[in-house]
């Protein structure tokens, strides 16, 4: 049998939970609340990750007072060593670089999200947006992979260390990173809760339920859609940057359609339109992820030929279908929205 370090596993699961929460909350804002079918989640997540790949290789050495070494090709090893040394010895440079990563990722992803929503205005059928986003994500992935110097094509960038890498004890370092991920997730949760429960949030739900009526009520539907795509994309990109830091690699192979589906599973499982549901979905998927990994290792060590990692995807598919068929609202369905106006109206009717 294998020994499972319960503390380390818990930290790993909670870190993943924080990162997945950011992704799930962003999709919940876009699809759950505003009804925009973002099947290009991997694109916006990857913007965060690619930004991390670029800042770690370009700005980090500059911030630490070194000359940047070209990250790809023959100087790859030297550049990687320089990155690791800076991250281990100069925490300040690491943190400033991380802040820079978040800023650039948020700006780029927000702008792309805002611009992409413009496409809907031109499409014949609404679901084409889903297709355009899906396909757009893959196109960007292929172009980034093809561009040699960007993030070193198919080699990717390794040594994208998390900012607490300088802490010598690996357990406390992982713990601190977990706290960072959870704090950002909490921030996103509080922000999106406030957004949903504002008049603007109710307008977004109106957009989801019936676009024409919402427009008829004098709301700027197209602008609202662009805004919520921008907000969702910023959150997703922050999640993507953390995702890259958590694995330590930036590689185009991670940002495929399956990642988009993972985020959709979280939201559908937890509850479409309900942020708590999105958090629950993120937690369950983080747990499932970790335990299928442990299961795969245990099965391999017991000498079985069966590749357990494939079972993860089958399980995901089955969960998704079962939920869509039997619990379309998710585990925590969206609750009825009531405002003061409801209470006043009830009082007037006398009920």
């Amino acid at each position: 049998m294998i020994n499972i370090d319960i503390g380390a596993t818990a930290v790993a699961v909670l870190t993943l939970f924080g990162i997945y929460s950011l992704m799930a909350i962003s999709l919940n804002l876009e699809y759950g609340v505003a009804g925009v079918p973002n099947f290009g989640k991997a694109l916006f997540i990857s913007i965060g990750a690619y930004t991390a790949g670029i800042t770690y290789t370009r700005t980090l050495p500059l911030l630490a007072g070194f000359e940047a070494i070209h990250p790809c090709g023959p100087t790859m090893g030297g550049a990687l060593q320089l990155r690791s040394e800076i991250m281990a010895s100069q925490p300040a440079a690491g943190f400033i670089n991380l802040a820079l990563t978040f800023l650039i990722a948020a700006a780029v992803a927000g702008a792309v999200g805002f611009a992409v929503s413009y496409i809907t205005l031109r499409l014949k059928e609404e679901w084409f947006l889903a297709l355009v986003l899906l396909v757009g994500g893959e196109t960007v992935r292929i172009v980034v992979r093809g561009a040699d110097d960007f993030i070193c094509s198919h080699n990717g960038i390794s040594g994208v260390a998390q900012p607490f890498y300088f802490v010598e004890d690996p357990r406390s370092s992982a713990l601190l990173f977990m706290l960072l991920a959870l704090a950002l997730a909490l921030l996103a949760y509080v922000y999106s809760q406030r957004l949903i429960h504002s008049p603007y949030g109710r307008m977004l739900k109106g957009l989801r339920e019936d676009e024409d009526i919402t427009r008829g009520l004098g709301k700027g539907v197209s602008l609202a859609r662009a805004q919520i795509m921008a907000v969702g994309s910023v959150i997703a990109a922050i999640g993507g940057a953390l995702f890259a830091l958590n694995t330590g690699f930036v590689n185009t192979n991670d940002y495929v359609v399956n990642l988009t589906l993972d985020v959709w599973v979280m939201v559908v499982l937890g509850g479409i339109g309900n942020n708590r549901g999105a958090l629950l979905g993120a937690l369950l998927i983080a747990l499932l992820d970790r335990f299928t990994q442990i299961g795969a290792i245990a099965l391999n060590m017991s000498g079985s030929e069966l590749e357990f990692n494939y079972v993860r995807f089958i399980a995901f598919g089955l969960i998704l279908i079962w939920m869509l068929r039997n619990r379309p609202g998710g585990l925590l369905p969206e609750s009825r929205l009531t405002t003061n106006a409801h209470d006043v109206a009830k009082g007037l009717i006398g009920r």
């Binding site: 297709l131 494939y310 995901f316």
Partner: protein, 306 residues
């Protein structure tokens, strides 16, 4: 670019385009009759390819028998997906996005079941081993019996499908359903039965496409998924409703991926790594600039939205 390369790439265009056409017609048919953009179509192709591979490994080397096995397995996979997943969802009148998501999930399940199977029995990257003979050789251009199987079979099946759609009662019922499902139900068309037959047909054709694909290149669990975007590009070029448009679209996509890509590579130094981006660019461009695809060019036999 050298003429030898040009002819080889044109042969590839015809061969791959025929396969794309076979697959894309399934997408168009599912979308028209069932109102479902079915991403699990890719996995019907892969399932058919594996059925063909297993039959060929068991010693049956007759291409017709291999294709028949692929047809049956593809058709059953499609029908089971319909009964287990799509029908219950349609009955609940869920949104289109739910259906798209469900089709992804169905594809995911089939794909990774095939992965498990291929891993367990070591069936990765094998070719369906019918004996190879060279029919024609002229310089660097070689036509084997594979070409003679793939191209005529695809074209024949496309013609048969068009005939079925235009000249049989089932085809008429399918077109009625595609045109207006409520009206079709009102005039007494057995909607459920027609849908079942459509799924069998779509899955079967996808399965045969998988078998033909496996004849020319290796069978692996990702083969259908790897082609699905090209196939969707072809179907979207056909406006997702026109048969002739879809067939033309399939050859256009295959041409851009093979001949045009080589041309760009030779004359402008575009890296061949960008080849997978071509269908994506086609899809985005068509959806944005000309969402009706080729439908207005072809307003003739075989169109589903007449």
């Amino acid at each position: 670019m050298p003429p030898a390369l040009l002819t080889t790439s044109l042969v590839n265009t015809i061969q791959i385009g025929s396969l794309y056409a076979l697959m894309a017609l399934g997408i168009t048919l599912t979308f028209s009759v069932m109102k479902l953009p079915n991403f699990a179509h890719a996995e019907f192709v892969t399932a058919g390819a594996y059925a063909a591979l297993i039959v060929s490994l068991s010693g049956v080397l007759n291409p017709l028998a291999i294709m028949a096995a692929a047809f049956v397995v593809g058709a059953l996979t499609a029908l089971i997906s319909h009964i287990a997943v799509f029908k219950p969802l349609e009955n609940r009148e869920v949104s289109l996005y739910t259906l798209i998501l469900a089709s992804f999930a169905v594809g995911l399940i089939i794909r990774y079941i095939l992965f498990l199977m291929a891993d367990y029995f070591n069936l990765f990257d094998l070719r369906i081993g019918i004996p190879l003979t060279i029919l024609f050789r002229e310089g660097s251009l070689i036509l084997s019996n594979l070409f003679a199987w793939v191209v005529p079979t695809s074209i024949l099946l496309v013609i048969l499908l068009t005939l079925l759609l235009n000249a049989t009662p089932l085809g008429r019922e399918m077109r009625a359903l595609a045109n207006n499902s409520i009206l079709a139900r009102v005039i007494g068309i057995p909607v459920e039965r027609v849908k079942n037959y459509t799924w069998l047909l779509v899955g079967g054709l996808a399965g045969v496409a998988g078998a033909l694909w496996g004849l020319q290149s290796a069978v692996n669990p990702l083969m259908g998924w790897a082609a699905i975007i090209s196939v969707f590009a072809a179907a979207i070029l056909g406006g997702l409703s026109s048969f002739s448009g879809t067939i033309l679209g399939a050859y256009v996509v295959a041409f851009s991926e093979n001949t045009l890509m080589l041309f760009l590579n030779f004359n402008f130094g575009v890296d061949l790594a960008y080849k997978p981006a071509i269908p994506f660019i086609i899809i985005i461009a068509v959806l944005l600039l000309r969402p009706q695809g080729f439908t207005e060019i072809f307003r003739r036999a075989g169109d589903l939205d007449r």
